[in-house]
Amino acid sequence: MLTDTTVAHLLTFLLCVPLSVALALLVAPGVRLRNLLVRAGAAATGAGALALAAAGGAGVHYFRAEVHGLETLFFAAGLALAGVMLGYAIKYKRPLAVALVLAQAALTLYFDLACAPAVPAERAFYSDMFSVLMALVIGILGPLICVYALGYMRDFHRHYPRLPDRRNFFFFLLFAFLSAMFGIVFSNDLGHMLFFWEATTLCSFLLIGHTRTKEAVSNAFRALVMNLSGGIAFSLALIYLARQFGIVELDKMLALRGAALLPAALLCYAAITKAAQLPFSSWLLGAMVAPTPTSALLHSSTMVKAGVFLVLKMAPVIAGTAVGNAVALIGAGTFLAASLVNIAEPNVKKVLAYSTVANLGLIVACGGIGSPAAVWIGLVLVVFHAVSKSLLFLVVGTVENRFYTKDMENYDNLIVKMPVTALLFVCGIAGMFVAPFGVVVSKWAAMKAFLDIPSAFGGVLMIMLAYGSGATVFYWSKLLGKILSMRDQADVEKKREATIGNDEWVAEWSHALLSLAVCAGLPLLSAWLAEPYIMLNYGVPSGLGAFNYGVMIFLLLMLLALPALAYLSHRRGEYRLADTYVCGRQMDSHLLVGGAMGAWREITLKNYYLDGFFSAGAILRYADILCGIAILFMLAAGVLWKA
């Protein structure tokens, strides 16, 4: 009982503190107060998440809302959200957005006034192992990104002096976003969850459009429209549940299993839009126009993770049904297509974005399969992907603010120009595709989970995964190679790293250490959160516990220690530096080659993009169509499938 109360307090804390900080930031005058608020708010949120993990980590707790009038508050806040969206849609003359906002508002009103049970849900909020896992991702990575943003936005506005400085509003959005995310993972009342769901849609809309350039506005509206369509599906699911079964709670819905297949399919649609699966990936790619901390936040701890959270929650209902198979196919198809497209992508931020889309695809596929092993993989992949991807965005942001380029081809010599940043970069990239880091471990487990499906469907998924994996290795190695390539070993501007502020260093180093910690700590993560969650929902273990962790830890240590030791021991040894060899030609490290008649010519070296093989346009077009068909099939199966 004591734990219950403590957990209840901590939930309230996590829901309210980021929001209070956000509201305070909106009115806080001066840079120093803003910095103080952001740092203190970040520390408090992180501490809250850790305390929650410590207090109620491995248990399940349900709470009723103790506050009177909370329903009215949600109702009013929901209307306010719709009002803000409507205002922007009218201001920028977007008829489609106007129509969707109105439709969404009408459905929500209909639900609230005609369908919702008269008595508020007994179990309005809850916390289980998955909520705690999500809370750790949101509550640790999110605040670190906010702190990082302090330094980033300073440099950003220095470089773009013409942009209006609306930093207070920017930080307001970041913190409000965190509150909304906590709301999603702790709401058992689906009506509340829908409100938080829409809140993340609005926050991301405003963040993407932050600079208010033409491109930013149009991309923001694309995100808004796609996510609103998901919100409408969410509302329909809510109305169906209320009218058909008279329930609004998530736990009661999951207990219905097969009977709740239609609402589950609708919620999966909402989740697929939010998780930027094909054919909805374009909104996440468009989100690149925003300042980089926005991307870090959207791609790691918030927004898209809400989507995969919901798919994984639906797993017990959709597992083994046509709906589940369609979801798995959409996920695997998105994984394959996004990985192939990335081979031909020179823009580093887009490479990161497609990689997010691909990894989310893998999680969605696991949710669609819905077996205990598959859901376990989905859970740990959420963590691994979040840490590494967030680190990568932070580092890319730092580099971008110094070289003003997003083109991979301009990243060479980074190891000389910004050695520490390059090292952190390598750490992030390794986390995404090098064994035994987490993402590869998850992929490995996913292959086994797919192979354990008795039907040939498992074989098809396995083949898609195999091809996607090959492509993944290719596009990451290419970027890795550029970073490590040493061109000019005596780069004159070595002081570049001195301009990086402490906020940024703290955030980046914390991420790098976290990425190692979650990898080494996988057994703990599994035993403490993932495995109990599987037991709770399925009553059987995931079967992945018998993993050979010894080999993994050994490989991890080797990977960390060996290059470092070899480098250090070699540096002390005797070796002579020589110029590179170009077939007998003279060449210096600036890539100048002595040509005929005493002329010096510069060589440029560019990566293979294989755009003859992997034309992004064609792949995306076909994949969009195929995944679109799979979505229609999923919804149709939700209506027609009888368990």
Partner: protein, 285 residues
């Protein structure tokens, strides 16, 4: 403990066996070209000489990366023969290859750079085939461990002929043979002539050679696995496969790397993918 002995045997003897294989390779190749060829032990003399050279390098990164390439390749092979999970072995195998790619990227030489790109093409081409092969083996034998599959006496080759043929095709690249004009192809008429090692010399280059020996023995082990139910048949299959690769090397002119990628992906989908899906139709576990 049982698995430690094969792993240690591999770590100690693979360089020996790999070096001998390279010696035989050079003699057989020479005979195909109507030459006498070097002595059998020539590869050992070459590596010994490389080790005796002083260190001249283009940057401080290549030596450590080449060393990591060697160690991780040896680890991948040891893990394979120790009965480790085949999928994990493939991932570690890829990590080993990455160190070579990184070493080549770190140099400014265009040969080295293009060599790194072409090595990546090999990885891109081969990865799906290797992963699908592992998946198919798992479906047939119910295990991903070399030792378990060998001990079970499962005749993989009868159930997985398509996967085996696909693997032989991919091995052409992984064993660094022609026809494809890739990173380590060594014929004088090819575009970048072992470009990936352009800026490596002395001990670093010796590491690369040693790695190549480890790699070849590991790959031959993979071939053996398909015939593991019979030792003589397995050894004969390994010898024949290697001979065919040498033959392919010496009878084909240069084939562009683009074809390496498209043909491998096509063949992988048809032969290996088809074989895997056929297993379901034929009622695998």
């Amino acid at each position: 403990m049982e698995s430690l002995i094969p792993a240690l045997t591999y770590l100690l003897l693979a360089p020996l066996a790999g070096g001998l294989l390279a010696g035989v390779d050079r003699i057989v190749s020479a005979r195909m070209q109507r030459r006498v060829g070097p002595p059998l032990l020539q590869p050992f003399y070459d590596v010994a000489k490389l080790f005796s050279k002083g260190d001249v390098e283009v940057n401080g990164l290549q030596y450590p990366l080449a060393l990591c390439h060697l160690v991780f390749m040896a680890l991948a092979g040891a893990l394979f023969f120790a009965g480790g999970d085949l999928l994990l072995v493939i991932f570690v195998f890829t990590v080993a290859a990455l160190f070579l790619v990184a070493a080549a990227f770190s140099s400014a030489s265009p040969y080295s750079f293009v060599g790194a790109e072409r090595e990546l093409i090999i990885i891109l081409a081969a990865e799906p085939a290797l992963l699908i092969a592992a998946a198919a083996i798992y479906k047939v034998a119910g295990s991903l461990s070399f030792l378990a599959v060998a001990a079970s006496g499962t005749a993989l080759i009868t159930r997985l002929p398509g996967v085996f043929l696909c693997l032989v095709y991919v091995l052409t690249m992984k064993l660094r043979k022609s026809p494809f004009d890739l990173s380590y192809s060594h014929h004088a008429h090819q575009e970048i002539v072992k470009g990936i090692t352009t800026d490596l010399g002395g001990r670093s280059l010796a590491f690369i050679e040693l790695t190549h020996w480890y790699e070849n023995i590991f790959l031959m082990g993979l071939v053996y696995l398909f015939f593991a139910f019979s030792l003589p048949l397995g050894l004969a299959a390994v010898a024949l496969t290697y001979f065919l690769e040498v033959l392919a090397d010496n009878t084909n002119a240069r084939v562009r790397w683009q074809l390496a990628l498209s043909s491998t992906w096509g063949i992988t989908l048809l032969l290996a993918g088809g074989n895997l899906l056929a297993l379901y139709a034929l009622g695998a576990k």
